[in-house]
């Protein structure tokens, strides 16, 4: 029973703050709403027997990525786009209609699928979420993706340094 109550609270918080992320006009406020979503998702991970993923969610997402967003927003200041009229603004309601229809389709398809144990009481799990289990899985089975991830992060760091250099000119070349 406790798990269901915590799930309902965390899911409602995630969905409501997610709606704020995509509707708030102020970029700073939208980013702060994203923090609430990320922490709620971390609670969901805890319910799903994944304490290590939950910790990484807090550290990497709420700790690093959101702070990066906030730094960039603070650096750019609150500058509205100058005189740009959105031609598509009258049709924005169609976005919601389309997405709600899409999610409804996905839900109906899932409800009608014969996925094993979809509605069953979740079985007790072994030790699948501890740092030890995840470390063993990385070293034993997923060593190549692990190394590829480090290469991706290195490439991203180099790209960020190049992009942040002064003198990069989009319109006229260097």
């Amino acid at each position: 029973m406790a798990e269901q109550i915590i799930f309902v609270i965390a899911a409602a918080a995630a969905l409501m703050s997610g709606a704020l992320v995509v509707t708030l006009e102020n970029a700073f406020r939208a980013t702060v709403a994203l923090i609430v979503t990320l922490v709620s998702v971390a609670v969901i991970f805890l319910l799903l027997a994944a304490p290590f993923v939950a910790a990484i969610q807090i550290i990497v997402y709420a700790g690093a990525i959101v702070v990066l967003f906030l730094f960039v927003i603070a650096y750019m200041g609150d500058r509205p786009a100058p005189g740009l009229e959105d031609r598509l603004a009258p049709y924005q309601a169609f976005t919601w209609i389309f997405v709600i229809a899409l999610i409804g389709q996905a839900g109906i398809m899932l409800a009608n699928s014969n996925l094993v144990g979809l509605y069953d009481e979740p079985a007790a799990t072994d030790d699948i979420g501890s740092p030890e289990a995840i470390g063993r899985a990385f070293i034993d089975d997923y060593i190549v993706p692990f190394e590829a991830t480090s290469a991706i992060l290195l490439v991203a760091a180099i790209a960020a340094v190049l992009l942040a250099k002064r003198g990069v000119n989009f319109e006229g070349g260097r």
């Binding site: 269901q4 992320v21 997405v99 144990g117 009481e121 089975d141």
Partner: protein, 102 residues
């Protein structure tokens, strides 16, 4: 009945993905589009970790961790591009930034 079946975790995942999709389609500021993309990546992580519990297997959590690393890399490059565009005094509007030049 004390646990939550997988169905509800997947429905939560669908809902968050839909919100992210709405954000990507509505927003014209690349910074706010990146925020919506983060929502979509998180919803995928919920589904991966949910299936990992369902089948008592660590692999889904490994995938979720790799997705997080890729998301971090994506945000670094995306924000680098946003800052570079901002330095050119160009409007931060994805409809305006439509020319590609090598």
């Amino acid at each position: 009945m004390s646990g939550v079946p997988l169905f509800w975790y997947l429905m939560l995942s669908f809902g968050l993905f839909g919100l992210g999709l709405v954000g990507v389609m509505r927003r014209r500021n690349p910074l706010l589009m990146l925020l919506a993309v983060e929502l979509m990546l998180n919803s995928a992580n919920i589904a991966l970790v949910g299936f990992a519990r369902q089948w008592n297997n660590t692999d889904g959590q490994i995938f979720a961790l790799v997705v997080m690393a890729v998301a971090a890399a994506e945000v670094v490059i995306g924000l680098g591009l946003v800052v570079a565009v901002f330095r050119q005094r160009l409007a931060l509007n994805v409809d305006e930034m439509s020319s590609l030049k090598g």
